[in-house]
């Protein structure tokens, strides 16, 4: 019942939050001094040409009318047309989405399979050398500028050792597009060259992106495990004489994971913010790079479309996390 109320309450706010988000992005993107039309019209455009284009894209209308037109379009699933690529924004975003998702997924996967065990070990052997070492590592993970880490990786692995590609998502054109995920697609069509190329291109961006996320996971897992170890029921289990390995893995980890799950929203935040910069350095053709390009080109509709989609995604993730939290953690139901 409580969960249901929670969901309803959150859904109730979903739409107004999105509209608010649109108004903010609209305001920001429309006071940009740059003229996207002038940019697109090119070097040789005359003032008349630019004016004609402006009329065509509806940029000659007063701002509030542009906003209303935009909002009406969005309700019909129309995010507008990119002035720069001349394609519908929704099409552009959809085309870029798999690249970002592939990278983000790899980063989540990598940071979890490394982060959770490390967090557990740090908690079990607290104040040991391992714990101190991990503490330094996690603090570094959150202190290092991701664009600098990316450049260091490039310098070492791509330029000096030459064992990974410097940039990009794949050599050539990639496997036949089915899902848009190169790894999946190349597995489906058994294109092993593409698979290897896609994987090798993923290494550096994944490591860069995963490092701060991993640091966060280590910290929360450690804290969660410590909480659980110190809680009464574990002491009780110990008193009951259950083997400590079993207690750790079965009880403590499960409870500690609850803490980590609730941080998924935070981790996604780190990843998406990181993706913007990491994609820019690695020239990764995903949403983050699209956003940076859109901003540099003053592509209003593209900026708004991106912000809207990421914002909606973010809100949904948080909603799901809230619900999950409500479901797994009995305390919130009490």
């Amino acid at each position: 019942m409580r969960v249901l109320v929670l969901i309803l309450n959150r859904l109730l706010w979903f739409i107004p939050t999105l509209i608010g988000l649109m108004i903010i992005t609209f305001t920001i993107s429309h006071v940009i001094p740059a003229d996207p039309v002038a940019f697109f019209a090119g070097d040789n455009a005359t003032p008349e040409q630019i004016e004609a284009l402006r009329v065509r894209y509806g940029l000659d209308k007063p701002l509030h009318i542009q906003l209303v037109n935009y909002l009406i379009g969005v309700t019909q699933g129309d995010l507008g047309v990119s002035i720069y690529t001349q394609r519908p924004i929704s099409e552009d975003l959809l085309a870029r989405l798999p690249a970002t998702m592939e990278l983000t997924f790899m980063a989540v996967f990598f940071s979890t399979i490394v982060g959770v065990p490390l967090g557990v070990f740090a908690a079990i052997y607290r104040n040991s050398f391992l714990d101190h070492f991990l503490r330094v590592l996690t603090v570094s993970g959150l202190a290092i500028a991701s664009f600098w880490l990316a450049i260091l990786f490039q310098l070492l692995f791509a330029m000096e050792l030459q064992i990974t590609p410097l940039q990009g998502r794949i050599d050539g054109w990639g496997p036949e597009s089915i899902t848009g995920f190169f790894i999946l697609d190349s597995l489906i069509v058994a294109d092993w060259d593409s698979l290897q190329s896609a994987l090798s291109h993923l290494v550096l961006p994944t490591l860069t992106l995963a490092f701060p996320a991993m640091a966060t996971i280590v910290r929360f897992t450690r804290a969660g495990v410590l909480d659980a170890i110190n809680s009464n029921y574990v002491l009780y289990e110990q008193a009951m004489g259950l083997p400590s390995n079993l207690i750790i893995w079965k009880y403590v980890l499960r409870n500690a994971l609850i803490g980590t799950v609730t941080q998924i929203g935070l981790i996604f935040g780190i990843l998406i913010a990181g993706a913007v910069v990491v994609e820019a350095v690695f020239d990764w053709p995903g949403l983050g790079l699209y956003a940076v390009e859109a901003i540099l080109n003053s592509d209003y509709n593209a900026i708004m479309g991106f912000t809207l989609v990421t914002g909606a995604f973010f809100i949904i993730v948080n909603l799901v996390v809230d619900i999950l939290h409500g479901v797994i953690d009995p305390r919130t139901q009490a």
Binding site: T17, A145, A223, A273, V277
Partner: protein
């Protein structure tokens, strides 16, 4: 108050990592303050020596020279000033906006408080760096605009925190008592609630410094920070990319500088939290 400050300091002094953090922050402040005295070539912030461009590290130039032939070490020291200025002012403004909003929204239980929290939720719904990039690009690249962009996107963190803390502080007996005794809302907020939640604000602010410095550097890296020939660290790293891998020293110095400073704030913030925030203390020392 004085007693507790003394207690905090003595606690911090015993914590090695916090001490390291404090030293790094103090180092940054000293460097920023005495940059003109410490720099071997203080004029190199705006002075160039094209014939000496892209020289490797040596006794003359500890961190080598850049694309204009200026001493990177000297420029890094002056870059510290920019970093400090951006972080301190942006965080200061965020606190000044976020804390009152959080207090008002937390103290009142009506549509105003709902509205205020919704607005801050909207800001929190998008990764901060996206909004900051959009704002900085809109306003044009300069130190002032980076500060503005960061302040505009970071205040909701404090609003959210203060809102939650205020709500729980209102249930404390002495706050309830002072309301019952007829204290004005302003009085309750400033003299009863605020001191009670100040430790959370301090912790959040210290840790926030690190994040802000990183975001500011990322803006500089993307070309939205102060323009050339500013010695801002993020911009220096962006400049260096064209000259890699030959001029490896070019990107190294500013990257390490950012790392150490952010590390300083994070370590110090962690230490502070362990002492000031009883709910998370356990997680740290087990």
């Amino acid at each position: 108050m004085f007693e507790s400050a003394k207690f905090i300091i003595s606690k911090l002094a015993k914590d090695r990592t916090s001490l390291v953090g404090a030293c790094l922050i103090a180092g940054l402040l000293l460097i920023a303050l005495f940059a003109p005295l410490l720099a071997p070539y203080p004029q190199d912030v705006s002075e160039f020596h094209p014939p000496e461009r892209l020289l490797g590290p040596s006794m003359l130039h500890f961190f080598g020279t850049d694309r204009m032939g200026s001493d990177i070490f000297s420029r890094m020291l002056f870059g510290a000033r920019i970093t400090i200025a951006i972080a301190v002012i942006a965080i200061g403004v965020s606190v000044l906006i976020g804390v009152p909003i959080g207090l008002i929204a937390g103290y009142n239980k009506n549509w105003i408080s709902d509205g205020l929290m919704r607005v801050s939720d909207i800001f929190l719904a998008v990764p901060q760096i996206i909004l900051a990039i959009a704002i900085a690009q809109t306003l044009g690249p300069s130190i002032e605009n980076v500060i503005l962009a960061l302040s505009a996107t970071y205040w909701p963190f404090w609003a959210r925190l203060v809102y939650a803390e205020t709500r729980s502080a209102l249930t404390e007996t002495y706050v309830e008592a002072s309301i019952a005794l007829g204290a004005s809302p302003f009085r309750v907020m400033v003299f009863h609630v605020l001191p009670n939640i100040s430790s959370s604000i301090i912790v959040r602010t210290t840790i926030g410094m690190g994040g802000t410095i990183l975001t500011a550097a990322a803006l500089g890296f993307l070309g939205l920070g102060p323009p050339a020939p500013s010695p801002e660290w993020g911009r220096t790293i962006a400049e260096s990319r064209e000259f890699l891998p030959e001029a490896w020293w070019y990107a190294t110095a500013p990257g390490v500088a950012i790392f150490l400073v952010v590390m300083g704030f994070n370590l110090f913030g962690d230490g502070l939290r362990d002492i000031l925030d009883p709910r998370t203390r356990r997680s740290h020392d087990g």
